[in-house]
């Protein structure tokens, strides 16, 4: 769908309004940079911090990458089993449901003891955060494959489970796997910050934000890092949508433009 130029840029209006409101409120109403630094001050901070900021972002992305890759690699085979076989589901679901409500941050002590102060410790927390959304959305996809599609496959020669999964269940479940991965990425990114904040790591965006800037009450730096955290997550999500969802799911009504 093509929007006229005017509508295309409409989103900028409220955004600029909010930024102006922020600048004005911080500068002329609150007048205390500790309570609320000005938007302009935050932008200058981002510029001032650019070198360390890029290094920290890369470290956090490394943690994120480790955790997400492991979560995906572990969740997908399990999801196929749980979605495809009623018995595997019955056997594993109780364990999953006991582990799932434990907040990822509660795993921090375990992560520290197991992996010490390495990137893997932070990666582990992200793994815990991203694993469950990926698992649950994916197995729902495999479980909900319409019977008629499976039977059509059988009649056309997909006799073994392996073939039915490869040719029918997997393509059918792909959108669910993608949704789970997207949700998992969101949760994972939140875990990055929290894990680094609470000292699973001695570097990264979350570490610097909390352990360095906050302890020195450099609030303009803190807010600068907050903005970066949001923007990185936004970029990750957009990239995923652009490269995975839009490319892969042309066959789904509603996504097609």
């Amino acid at each position: 769908m093509k929007l006229p130029t005017k509508e295309k840029w409409l989103w900028l209006v409220p955004l600029i309004a909010v930024l102006l409101l922020w600048e004005f409120t911080a500068g002329y109403v609150i007048k205390n940079p500790l309570m609320l630094p000005r938007f302009s001050a935050v932008i200058f901070s981002i510029y001032a911090l650019r070198n360390v900021l890029i290094a920290d972002t890369l470290i956090s992305l490394l943690h994120f990458g480790i955790g997400l890759a492991l979560a995906f690699a572990a969740a997908l085979p399990l999801a196929i089993g749980m979605g495809w076989s009623r018995n595997i589901f019955k056997a594993i679901d109780p364990i999953i449901e006991i582990l799932r409500p434990i907040p990822p941050l509660a795993w921090i002590p375990i992560a520290m003891i197991w992996f010490h102060l390495t990137h893997y410790a932070a990666g582990f927390i992200i793994f815990i955060g991203a694993f469950f959304p990926i698992l649950i959305d994916s197995y729902t996809g495999f479980r909900d494959v319409p019977k008629v599609l499976v039977e059509t496959g059988k009649v056309l020669g997909c006799i073994s489970d392996k073939k039915q999964i490869k040719y029918i269940a997997f393509p059918y479940a792909l959108p669910s796997i993608a949704t789970g991965t997207r949700v998992g990425m969101g949760v994972g990114w939140m875990c990055v910050v929290a894990a680094e904040m609470f000292g699973v790591s001695d570097s990264g965006l979350g570490y610097r934000l909390f352990q360095k800037f906050y302890f020195l009450h450099q609030m303009d730096y803190v807010v600068a890092y907050m903005l970066v955290l949001g923007l990185v997550a936004l970029c990750l999500d957009r990239l995923f949508r652009h490269f995975v969802e839009d490319k892969l799911f042309k066959w789904k009504k509603g996504i097609v433009k």
């Binding site: 319409p146 008629v148 599609l149 039977e151 059509t152 496959g153 059988k154 009649v155 056309l156 020669g157 997909c158 006799i159 073939k163 040719y167 029918i168 393509p171 059918y172 792909l174 042309k250 066959w251 789904k252 009504k253």
Partner: protein, 257 residues
């Protein structure tokens, strides 16, 4: 005379909470090569179950199904099936749907495309090869399903109320096209329907089934020359005969309930 398909003493019972329930009782049908046989009966008479057993998707409790001298043990691409529900793989284009059975069989890319193209033309969908199922009307979807079932060159084509979910006008067109396809491919067709009109228009013979537990009441040859006129006197007389038989069966069913 050689039979294409023989159904001998076929009985099917389902186990339910209230005990064994008879679905089909002692069915005997012989189908000659290139015959168009319609199976008709009140709803719940087990006509779909009968077809599914020929497809190998359900297993008989006793009796046997013999196709080309070999007993049917399970699903196989030598029996093509068209379901009542729309059963196209939504993530595959028309061409890829039609190619599916060949792909599973291991037919190479180029030969596969040529065969698929032939059947797409047979159902009159040339030009739609790269469309996804959501872009097609109900009638077109069923045409693709027919092409897909035929592409593996099955010995027999099984159709389970394939035009049940398209509108009445489209249905008439599809029936005409199916007769044309039948004439050109000389397939043996087993066609389940609840529509008397459909049976009279299409079939060489009509097998009338009784209400549950379903058994074969009568096999009637439709001796009306083709092309048939839906409103001709002979067609009407035959329709009358079928309706009488069916209402008799329905009234029996009501008493037994």
């Amino acid at each position: 005379m050689n039979h294409k398909l023989e159904i001998r003493n076929l009985t099917k019972t389902f186990s339910t909470e209230e005990g064994e329930m008879g679905a089909l009782e002692d069915i005997n049908i012989e189908v000659t090569p290139a015959e168009f046989l319609c199976i008709i009966g009140p709803s719940g008479c087990g006509k779909t179950t009968l077809l599914r057993m020929v497809a190998g998707l359900d297993h008989p409790s006793s009796g046997e199904i013999i196709l080309d001298g070999k007993e049917v043990k399970g699903p196989s691409p030598d029996r093509g099936m068209v379901f009542q529900e729309f059963s196209l793989f939504p993530w595959r284009t028309v061409l890829k749907n039609v190619e599916f059975g060949l792909e599973i069989k291991g037919v190479g890319g180029k030969a596969r495309g040529e065969i698929a193209e032939k059947y797409i033309e047979l159902v009159g969908l040339q030009g739609f090869e790269n469309h996804y199922p959501y872009e097609l009307s109900g009638g077109m979807k069923q045409r693709v399903a027919i092409a897909r079932a035929l592409a593996t060159e099955p010995a027999i084509l099984l159709m389970d109320e394939p035009f049940g979910s398209v509108d009445a006008q489209t249905r008439n067109v599809l029936q005409e096209e199916l007769l044309e396809i039948w004439k050109r491919t000389k397939k043996t067709i087993l066609f389940v329907t609840h529509s008397v009109d459909e049976a009279v228009y299409l079939a060489d013979r009509v097998a009338v089934m009784s209400a549950r537990p379903g058994c074969l009441v009568k096999c009637l040859a439709v001796n009306i020359p083709r092309p048939r006129k839906r409103t001709s006197l002979e067609a009407n007389e035959f329709r009358e005969k079928l309706l009488m038989l069916l209402s008799l069966e329905r009234s029996k069913a009501c008493i037994s309930v």
